[in-house]
Amino acid sequence: MKTTMPQTVTPEIPNPPQRLLSYFEDGGQTLGSWLLTTDHKRIGILYLYSILVFFVIAAIAAAMMRMELLTPAGDMVTSQTYNKLFTMHGTLMVWFFLIPSIPSVLGNFLVPLMLGARDLAFPKLNLLSWYLFNLGGLLALYAVAFGGVDTGWTFYEPYSSAFSNSHVVTMIAGVFVAGFSSILTGLNFIVSIHKLRAPGLTWFKLPLFLWSTYATSIILVLATPVLAMTLVLVATEKIWGLGIFDPKLGGDPVLFQHLFWFYSHPAVYVMILPGMGVISELITCFSRKPIFGYHFVAFSSVAIALIGFFVWGHHMFVSSQSVYAGLVFSLLSYLVAVPSAIKVFNWTMTLYRGRIHFDTPMLYALAFIGLFMVGGLTGLFLAALGFDVHVHGTYFVVAHFHYIMVGGMVTAFLGGLHYWWPKITGRLYPENLGRLAALIIFIGFNVTFLPQFVVGYLGMPRRYHAYAPEFQIFNVMSSAGASILGIGYLLPLIYLIWSLKNGKKAPPNPWKATGLEWQTPSPPPKQNFAQTPIVTQKPYQYSPEIEEELIHG
């Protein structure tokens, strides 16, 4: 492929008579124009604001926990307050930051652009889902502010219904409402990807981000309703005073765990699959090479989503579920490693002999691969029945899922945000500061969570505000790392906001990337494209030899 410019062909538009207004200008900047918008790009930005608020609040809870854990004695907050802190951190991070992060912010913004469509299939539902999300978030914040919840984000029965005196019902209501927001978003993406593809854009010409978004949407749509019903049952049980998980009547709390993890394990993949999609885009763009094994990467997303529904029991190895079931779940859990590994191999092969450019998004992408591998491989440890019994409920588990969710998803989110920032805002961010922040985050993250593997393996249980003195050194390291990580996260927040006014104006395609979203002005016009694009070629037709001089040219 000798061409250097985008390989998806837009019909020649001989300089449209007048410039199309960007989505910022079209419709004005009134509050109403934002709050009543059905434009997927504006809704994506609304989501960005919302999740930022929840991220900050949840991060403050994390900071307080890390401060408490500086010393072995439980001296800063009481155990009850500590319970509420980790519940707040978990609930807000999972449902109000991670799950909507890439799908609802970047997904909303990018899915129609990548499809060459004018909007999502159901724009009003899309706006509704933002309102539901915020309503759920407000309920959750109400529960946090007026007394807190102490059950952990998992709401395990029978503690949550029969014993906890905290605001469980309000929190559950918040998660329930936010769940419908997820369902609507997933539904919108599924239908859009099926029905709104531009002429010529067949499934195997789709960008890999869309494949992973599609896989994510399958999970959102098929898993979330089970959570909704489970939460209804818990809330009814709490209000009524008795219910079907209540051992006193002969109910089985383990059934709650089955229902909860039938949702929550697939939901864990909602917290990584979209990140994988972003990374596939970044790796190929900054290696200036077509992705290695496009079909494998595409199908591995779907495979992860599917297999993700068969493995939930690995959270319940010590819950007194049948050992036979445990064996089955353990075996099935190993299977998920196959598509995940396929992705890592393909990314690595894409890097091989590529012209690698270490721009900020690429730094995040490389960090993602490393951190995801650590998180993924320790996941295999935990999927092993015998080993899991040893480390269940310890910091080993905490470290494992933070490597996936923070090291994976948050890193991918930041990488994607930087990559598409010029498209979203029409401004370039300061590149050197960006690289510095990426480096600080990578260091801070590892200093925070690597010691937790060790301390967890040595037997420090999670969810306690006091611990044995011999664990202090690891906890001090962890807390120190968390401060570095905090600074790392603060930096992009500052310079990205700064760039909104002061950044250089972005050209339509600052990265010389392929993909339909780069063929429209930055920021895009309200209708996305002056004319519906017609796609004729495969995605990612990068050519390393020719493009070398172009990228920073």
Partner: protein, 212 residues
């Protein structure tokens, strides 16, 4: 898009694309509903398997007459709903309104009968809790808990369905639909039928336990 046919949203190229998208969207939504009720069905299965005797005992107190009348009402409402769709497709606006009204009426009858049934359940102390009927095994409360939650959630769905049909009927009165554009009628019909499908299972699971 000045010459776009009425009812075509800007993100679609033609009516067929729009219709297929909303059909797909509605079925996706219904799939979520299957799993929403699925949690209840799974709980029911586990406990019925574990406590078959208690469930048999508890099931004897369910009012089958109300349940059977209600099933007949809902099945008939599905017929009128289908006829409403047929009327919409062939552009007969008066018939459409009439069948929508009949469907909503049958739905309301269902809720009325359900109310009567709930009342007699309460009178017979079949609400789990301290007042629960003596003489029934403890696990019978699980059956009745599931009965209340499942039928309650189902009734809520029916209420939403009646509300949706109300909006559709109002739109039909305003002359929004034609033989060319009547997608909302078909979509609300899908939802209505689905609520009926769920009920058929509830009937088999809650009303037909140990009748003989």
């Amino acid at each position: 898009m000045a010459d776009a046919p009425t009812g075509l949203a800007e993100q679609y190229d033609d009516m067929l694309q729009q219709r297929e998208a909303s059909t797909l969207g509605m079925w996706t939504f219904l799939a979520t509903e299957v799993l929403f009720f699925g949690g209840l069905f799974l709980s029911y299965t586990i406990y019925r398997h574990a406590y078959s005797d208690a469930f048999a005992e508890a099931g004897r107190h369910v009012k089958i007459v109300y349940g059977t009348i209600n099933t007949a009402l809902l099945l008939t409402s599905s017929l009128t709903m289908s006829l409403a769709i047929h009327a919409a497709q062939s552009g007969r606006q008066r018939a459409l309104l009439g069948f929508l009204a009949a469907t909503m009426f049958l739905g309301c009858c269902f809720l009325g009968v359900k109310g009567l049934e709930y009342k007699s359940d309460i009178d017979e102390h079949l609400v789990p809790g301290a007042q629960f009927q003596h003489g029934l095994p403890a696990q019978a409360q699980i059956f009745w808990f599931l009965y209340w939650v499942t039928t309650g959630v189902h009734s809520l769905h029916l209420l939403v369905g009646i509300g949706a049909l109300g909006v559709i009927a109002w739109m039909a009165r305003k002359g929004k639909f034609s033989a060319a554009y009547h997608n909302p009628v078909v979509m609300s019909g899908l939802y209505w039928h689905f609520v009926d499908v769920i009920w058929v299972w509830l009937y088999a699971l809650f009303y037909l336990v140990n009748r003989h």
